[in-house]
Symmetry: C2
Subunit: 342 residues, 2 copies
């Protein structure tokens, strides 16, 4: 085929080395490869946004427990939202917007498997990788189906300013609960309270964060929505309330550690007849449409925001974006916005 | 009053000092005090059995999370089964058998509050402190209401030869599950398999205990019934299965430690959508009679045993019995059988 596309080169981000500590630019490298001609049943996606996922730090961990194993030299796993620019697939037309696990690259050839159509009348394209994508769906089902916060109850969101935490906090508020967020800077605290309607936001870097938390939850915590693990999970377990739910959504504080820390205060679960509940959003795949319809109504009514934090640049900026994610610079979902997004 | 009872002296076990490491005889002392005359509404119980409870090690821990706080010089908390030998209480007649939290002493005056009548046609008196008492009721409700093992499923009991473990294992077998027990000696393994019908028993002191466990549970574990905490809980979490239940019943391995160890492998709960579930038997108090009726039928049918491990002696042997409990010498519920038991 000589349709002109072959002249365009695809830039791909590869894992250069197994990261130690925080991952950053030095752990990734970029290569250019020609875009292969499409086979029948394939389509070509131009990447507009790459979603930054903290769990990606685990790509090199040698354990079955993680999803995204990648070795040095491999294309880095990544969720991408973009536009179909060529298609030999009956189900996808040129011009459609799609999202999926296409890898960190400027173009991707797909068979359509696992690819999701993005309706931009529901949410902007980037949000399909964040509050309207897996992060938001995770928050939605974890809150609605597992945490079930009630009016008058108190919820703690650990990692409140992140992709999932921002959504979980807002949805808990919509359910009528008092929402307390833990995050890592005064600016993020202010933003959570003023922009997202959190009742209280506490900076976990304050020496007295636990005392602030205890004072904000005099009747203990009915729900702890944990995205961070480590010491914050461990300490907050001391405040779990009777029949409480500790939703285990992520453990970002531990992803860069060689040795995980277990929460010694798990014994409080016993005293309080509470539970530490594992959760994986993919179990709810057949209800994504239902969740998005409901979220759309909340968005239209001004009750729900889909916060995205965009870093603009080429795919070679992926390592930098990843480091900023781990430095906690993001308000909401961290996205790399590629030049093709316009 | 000069009814003769005042001539009998009551021997009481007091906490002598805050234990370090394992508690033992040196941490307790005995004193003799006269038995006070009964006031109206009171009854006098002669103690026949004292139940040894591993959680009692926590009596001196300075934390709200534990039930039995005791200071040096105080009467030691203890569950006792005995006989009413004098009564000015309308609800209890002389000769009746009762059990309750009466403290480690040879006689106790009670208002009847919290006292339970023991029907010896259902189970022998000592068992009312063990398999037919809180230990057995804990196992019953934790298994039936929370763990819900199904035929074909695999259950692991950590601390399998203990008061709760022996009962939990037997009840899981009655539910049709494959039952694996972890315990601390080859003799206890043999006893669990031959006397209590465990499918497999593994000595956690074997270097390859985890490999033995993994080989015995090729389809992973649907239930982990944990009485011990620490490294055994942590390692076994790696084998929890999809939608599994880890029932948090006790943490005996940690009760003598100054610093609790948290289970770093709790992240497996996430991957497996499993839950670590706290549990307190007192929530089921209004169903104790139902549980005992069902257990009685199993006992009558030869399907359930109520293993008790009796050490004979006076109340001054309490410290020795407590040390033996922590040395894992018991098969089933550890009891101190007092001379009054005949």
């Amino acid at each position: 085929m000589t349709d002109g596309l072959n002249e365009r080169m695809n830039r791909q981000v590869l894992l250069k080395q197994v990261p130690e500590g925080l991952a950053g630019p030095e752990d990734f490298e970029t290569r250019e490869v020609p875009i292969a001609p499409l086979e029948p049943g394939e389509l070509l996606v131009e990447s507009h946004y790459v979603g930054l996922d903290a769990a990606l730090r685990l790509i090199t961990r040698d354990s079955d427990e993680f999803l995204f194993r990648v070795s040095p030299g491999d294309l880095v796993h990544g969720s991408v939202a973009g536009q179909v620019i060529e298609s030999r697939h009956d189900g996808f037309a040129v011009g459609e917007y799609v999202a999926g696990s296409l890898g960190v690259q400027s173009y991707a050839i797909s068979t359509g498997e696992g690819l999701e159509r993005c309706d931009l009348s529901q949410a902007p394209l980037g949000a399909w990788l964040g509050g309207f994508g897996n992060s938001g769906l995770t928050a939605y089902f974890a809150v609605i189906d597992e945490c079930k916060p009630q009016p008058g109850q108190t919820v703690l969101i650990n990692g409140a300013a992140g992709a999932v935490g921002t959504m979980a906090g807002q949805i808990c508020r919509l359910a009528g609960a008092k929402v307390i967020g833990l995050t890592g800077s005064p600016e993020k605290c202010q933003w959570l309270e003023e922009e997202l309607g959190f009742d209280v936001a506490i900076n976990y870097k304050d020496d007295d964060w636990f005392e602030q938390l205890a004072a904000s939850a005099p009747d203990r915590l009915d729900v702890i929505f944990d995205n961070v693990g480590g010491d914050i999970l461990d300490e907050s377990l001391k405040l779990i309330g009777m029949h409480g739910v500790v939703l285990l959504c992520g453990s970002t504080s531990q992803y860069s550690e060689t040795e995980m820390k277990g929460p010694a205060n798990y014994i409080w679960l016993g005293t309080m007849r509470a539970r530490l509940q594992g959760f994986v959003v993919f179990d709810y795949a057949d209800r994504y449409a239902e969740a998005r319809q409901r979220m759309s109504r909340w968005i239209a009514g001004g009750e729900l925001k889909l916060p995205c934090h965009e870093l603009e640049g080429g795919v070679d900026q992926f390592g930098e974006a990843f480091r900023q994610l781990y430095e906690g610079k993001n308000l909401g979902k961290m996205l790399l916005k590629l030049p093709a997004a316009g």
